[in-house]
Symmetry: D2
């Protein structure tokens, strides 16, 4: 059955973001920020405890080292540099998890790192190498053709999970529409649930130009920083439990 995943632990220091405590009970997988784009050791510990309490699977959500920009700016690093940047963050979260005897179950990159990974096979390779190193699956975006991703991941012994987005608009090339553009983020619950239903039932998603792209997803992602986040996870939980 398809799983619900949500970014969690994206507060920092005295600043709050997201409604983690309200959302956690409704999701299956929590992508926990690791301190580079959001999160700090205290917030990570609190988030891991919350996930454990609700039997939610914990994944690492590493980003570019860019606190000021919330990891939404692409930064030019070499392949091996990126592998180290991901390993650092994944390891850090594993350290925090150790206190709860919680196991880290997967890696899902954040923001610009996620977007660049989907467009640039060298960046994807850097992250797969990190995943191989810590022996964890990697969650990436389901696109009409993930052939190259699957091939590279298999060659390094890394399992891939595929996710689709319910609250973001898709372009015809199978990417998410840039947040800079209007309509990038769905603003009604109806649109979100409709997109989820199509992904689950028809294994496809409608693009901004009206095309239907075939995608096969293991998980549905809801962004926790939206004002519709809580309503969305409740509606999707309901949808999935029918």
């Amino acid at each position: 059955m398809i799983k619900l995943n949500c970014d969690m632990g994206e507060s920092f220091g005295a600043w709050s973001m997201g409604a983690d405590e309200a959302i956690m009970p409704y999701i299956d997988m929590s992508n926990v920020a690791c301190g580079f784009h959001a999160g700090d050791p205290q917030i990570m510990a609190k988030t891991v405890a919350l996930a454990v309490e609700h039997n939610v699977t914990i994944g690492a959500h590493p980003g570019y080292p860019d606190l000021l920009g919330f990891g939404r700016k692409a930064l030019n690093f070499s392949e091996s540099e990126l592998t180290h940047i991901v390993l650092y963050q994944v390891g850090a979260l594993q350290g925090i998890c150790s206190q709860h005897n919680a196991e880290l179950a997967y890696i899902k990159p954040h923001g610009a790192l996620y977007n660049v990974m989907m467009r640039d096979i060298t960046v994807f390779s850097a992250i797969v190498k990190a995943a191989a190193s810590v022996k964890l699956p990697l969650m990436i975006m389901a696109t009409p053709d993930n052939h190259k991703h699957i091939q590279l991941a298999q060659s390094l012994g890394v399992r891939l999970f595929f996710e689709a987005f319910c609250d973001r608009a898709y372009t015809d090339d199978g990417h998410l529409q840039s947040r800079q553009e209007k309509g990038a983020v769905h603003q009604t619950l109806g649109l979100i649930v409709e997109q989820a239903q199509q992904i689950i039932e028809q294994q496809s998603v409608q693009t901004t130009s009206g095309n239907n792209l075939p995608i096969k997803a293991d998980s549905l992602c809801i962004h926790g920083d939206s004002h519709l986040a809580l309503a969305s996870v409740k509606a999707l939980r309901e949808l999935l439990s029918r």
Copy 2:
């Protein structure tokens, strides 16, 4: 036999510190900075690779989150906050180590965190709890009376290593003299070797007032940021191989 340990990987970004490549061949244990007071994912990866190349044991060297102050300022955190701060850094280094199939062998706190740990049993407890969580030994300072440390560590199943300092002056209460004060750091190779010899042969150290404190050390520490660092490790390596 007594081991030589040295702080390593304390560069940051474009800034260099220490003569890691020159010193690594002469030491047994490298305390690798974890990004909070010094070090970054690239420098950590390079340092781990260097340690592996020279068969040097790798330890985590976590500090307070204080890059600007090089971890030499005490910061007021609660016990559980400090546990998380240490777990984050230790885990991060384990993540980096995974790429070399290198095992992390121990934890040794840095700078102010080390000093506060030796003076404040709550801070010591925070760090022991982190060590227990990741099942690693903890290296602390050999003092005339480590009774309370041993008791607390044993109760949590954490093994302790004890180290003595060859290049720092001791006060009568068994602590290191503050770096703010004159004479805190030995400025001649003669003084350093002499102090090492006394620690090894007589299991004692002479304080600033001329007293001899009994201490029993598993390891001797040399500070890598001193201009005498390389000469010291060479002289101590020679001393230990007699």
Copy 3:
């Protein structure tokens, strides 16, 4: 007439704090965070523009370099180091103000820096020296005896403003009760208005033990991060315009 001041611009990057847009119309003086404990160049620019729009006086609100701890941890710096830390932040805000032809009108330290300044004359001296350097008045806490502060400030040609707090409990020694302790922050509008009224009309404040301390304030401070902040500034504005 007594002025209302409020801390403003304490968001950071993607994280929001405070209801600046709602509160700004009701206050006289805005203490704008300068990037060390909160704020960044974009948030500072937005806050300055908002203050200019509402004809609100702009003050610099420098803090310790401690983003993670929101400037609420005391850090051990020398006197001259602190002067530089304050000058950096005040200058940075002046740079931002230049775009709006806005004049910076005063300095009011934030959080731990404010508290330490009130307790430690060396830290106060460091900040007065910064104020003298940029030729700006300094806002400090009105206490029953500000004699030493006045003397030192006068000797360096720095004008002092004195503020009192409406939403915080006072201890008998004239300091604010620590946020660690219960009752440190007033939780009802009634308490806040009552304290304001006593400060304005009787030039005194009641301490946690029931004593009345004589204090003479030029300004009343309301903390913008409280859930009562907006209601408080409205009530106090009303009180002051009678």
Copy 4:
């Protein structure tokens, strides 16, 4: 007469970079790092004091907010965001300068910000607007055609200084060769002095392909982080005083 300028104050916290004390006596203009790519309030204060001592003109050397990458990574900011980022840093240095009654005399961006400014007129515009706001001249790179730069700067009332590089290779399009490529930084004093001489005497520079580009410079830049930096400034000082 042509002036010598050099980047100064590029240490950070406990980490040193450059031979500022040795180089300062030989230069005319010091570009002082402002804390975003390098420098901190203490280092800025020390650098300003050193410049004042040697009667060296002080310029602001702002960079992208990228301490880890030493400001050598381009970051995607909007025009107004960049203006604020520059104003923040320039103001911060003015704050520090106030303690020495030293006047800031110009702005020269650092690293990637400098390179992007030379290639992208929107980024140039952002920086000119900051310069206009604080009423300071801006130093940019002398290229065969600075027409667009001059036009835009004049329209905002900003004076431009033009500099040429003695220690970096030029490409045929009048830019500096990327540091990623071999030969980007001259490795012999002979090459550096030769390039300087050609710039001064013939108002041209030879590119990597052997072409001569006409450039007209007010100032020659020497990079302070090169091992040849001190020898270079001495040789160039000698050259200029003939």
